[in-house]
């Protein structure tokens, strides 16, 4: 077995009355693409925010690249990349400037910076658009730029929160291919969230289905089907089966509003 890059044990988070994440545990191995799949409001973003040091967990432990997150948050920030569900580039700067700012924040030296930005622009196919303001980019281009920003410093883990939400099918496919390349060519460890079953199945080596803050099932797509007792089930069946496990009533008005707002911005 390869080394464990992310270890989450018994993590919980409450917002007032809302138990957003409860007793979640899982491990992600080096080089793996791990998917958190679940409906709106399942607690996926909250989990990712705790893993990226943005939110403090109420209970439980998180370890990334062998370091305890609670003890060394700054060290952990040096070796992770994060693309939030919302828009994280500045529309009033060019693609190049957006990359340069983050290269500086990650502490890359001048020479390294220039080489790496060129590398990223090639990888994302944004060379031609590099000097254009990002507000003129399409949704797919923005997502690729955001992912590019997050991998400038060769992170040990890349966290992607709903990387294709609000994208049209063509742009979505472009982003999928980009993620696949990162995984296969760069052997990057990726943890992504999604509420599209086919996305989880085609990108992820293993999937954890989240429902109401809990993990309802965990395994490869094939294993999930098997656990359900129906190897011929479609991913839709699997999703519905497990997402309903904790009597989920969807994410409610607030989360619907949130994800639509994001979708609108990216579209």
């Amino acid at each position: 077995m390869s080394e464990v890059t992310v270890r989450v044990s018994h993590v919980s988070k409450r917002f007032g009355d809302v138990h957003a994440v409860r007793d979640v545990s899982f491990e992600v191995s080096a080089g793996e693409c791990f998917g958190l799949l679940g409906p709106n409001g399942a607690g996926k973003s909250t989990t990712l925010k705790m893993l990226t040091t943005l939110l403090r967990s109420d209970e439980g432990e998180i370890e990334i690249a062998g370091r305890a997150l609670a003890k060394e948050p700054t060290r952990i920030r040096e070796c992770i990349g994060y693309v939030p569900q919302m828009l994280s580039v500045d529309g009033n700067l060019t693609g190049y400037e957006n990359l340069l700012i983050f290269a500086k924040l990650y502490g890359l030296r001048r020479r390294e910076r220039e080489e790496r930005i060129i590398e990223i622009l090639e990888m994302t196919g944004l060379e031609e658009a590099a000097d254009r303001l990002v507000k003129t980019y399409s949704g797919g281009m923005i997502r690729k730029l955001e992912i590019g920003q997050a991998i400038l410093h060769h992170p040990k883990v890349l966290f992607l929160d709903e990387p294709t939400v609000g994208l049209d099918p063509v742009a979505r496919k472009g982003v999928w291919e980009h993620i696949e390349r990162l995984q296969h060519e760069q052997n990057m460890t990726i943890l992504l969230t999604t509420h599209y079953m086919e996305e989880a199945e085609s990108l992820c080596t293993r999937i954890a289905i989240m429902s109401r803050g809990q993990i309802a099932a965990l395994g490869t797509a094939a294993e999930l089907r098997e656990q359900m007792g129906n190897p011929d089930a479609t991913m839709d069946d699997v999703f519905t089966h497990y997402a309903g496990k904790f009597d989920n009533q969807e994410g409610g008005m607030k989360s619907v509003f949130r994800s639509r707002r994001t979708a609108k911005r990216l579209g």
Partner: protein, 273 residues
């Protein structure tokens, strides 16, 4: 992995002091703001209109009436530093809105997952607001020159003015960020900003000297940080005999450090939507 793989930890350890990195992060946040302003300076210019009106209309009228004692200088010269301070304060007190905007967008969260220190991010944002205020200072100084308002435009005085503007802008935008972290929404931030700007302005020495104030107002004016900004600017631009430049700088730096500290503590609050 691709070529040039740098173990981030090594690069960090390699002889670069934390202090250097801290200030390079502050500078990076500042740089981002400057790049944006350079591309679209229209906002800066628009914001120059209001102080221009104050100087032209209010300044003109009151120097005609001679109702306010402005010592041995014209009322317009007395008023100009006050209007400069007003414009720095007003532009900065709403800065929290753009922080909330960046939070709502997701940009702030992404920055917060890089190795930047919380206080470096807060300081960078405070100084970014100062850059906007500097634009105001330049517009108002040019305007005063055009209007033929007689003031001290020596290199030393102007340098001092720019320093005061940076300090004032950093403090008031820092204050605004504290409010933003507490109220969390743009609408509430807007409301509070509007609620405090006028009292802040009228309870300072921007329009009239402290000497004509009733005692209760004098007390308020003394604890109002805007008064120190006005006093410093006035001392530099029209050489008022009772200005205390050293004290003014000290008060603004101390107040700035307090809000920087508060922002560092409150920072998780602004991040969580």
């Amino acid at each position: 992995m691709s070529s040039g793989v740098a173990e981030p930890q090594n690069a960090w350890a390699k002889g670069r002091s934390r202090v250097w990195l801290y200030f390079s992060h502050v500078f990076t946040i500042l740089e981002m703001e400057v790049w944006k302003l350079r591309k679209d300076p229209s906002e800066l210019i628009m914001r120059g209109i209001q102080p221009a009106l104050w100087l032209l209309v209010f300044g003109q009228a009151f120097s005609r009436f001679r109702v306010l004692p402005s010592g041995n200088v014209s009322y317009k010269a007395f008023l100009t530093p006050g209007i400069l301070a007003q414009s720095v304060t007003f532009i900065s007190i709403f800065y929290g809105i753009s922080i909330i905007w960046e939070r709502d967008m997701g940009l702030l969260q992404k920055v917060a997952t890089t190795p930047i220190r919380k206080s470096a991010l807060a300081l960078g944002k405070m100084l970014s607001a100062s850059v906007r205020s500097l634009g105001q200072a330049i517009i108002i100084i040019l305007l005063a020159l055009i209007l033929g308002i007689h003031m001290n435009f020596g290199v030393g005085a102007v340098a001092g003015v720019l320093l005061m503007v940076i300090l004032g802008g950093a403090f008031f935008s820092g204050l605004s960020m504290v409010i933003a972290a507490i109220v969390r929404t743009r609408e509430r931030m807007m409301g509070i900003g509007q609620l405090i700007t006028m009292p802040l302005f009228f309870s300072s020495n921007a329009l009239y000297p402290m000497s004509v104030m009733p005692v209760w107002l004098k007390v308020i004016a003394t604890i109002n940080p805007m008064s120190y900004l006005v006093d410093g600017l006035r001392g530099l631009l029209i050489a008022t005999p009772d200005a205390h430049f050293g004290l003014d700088v000290l008060v603004l730096v101390a107040a700035g450090l307090v809000v920087l500290g508060l922002n560092t503590v409150l920072y998780p609050r602004i991040l969580s939507g």
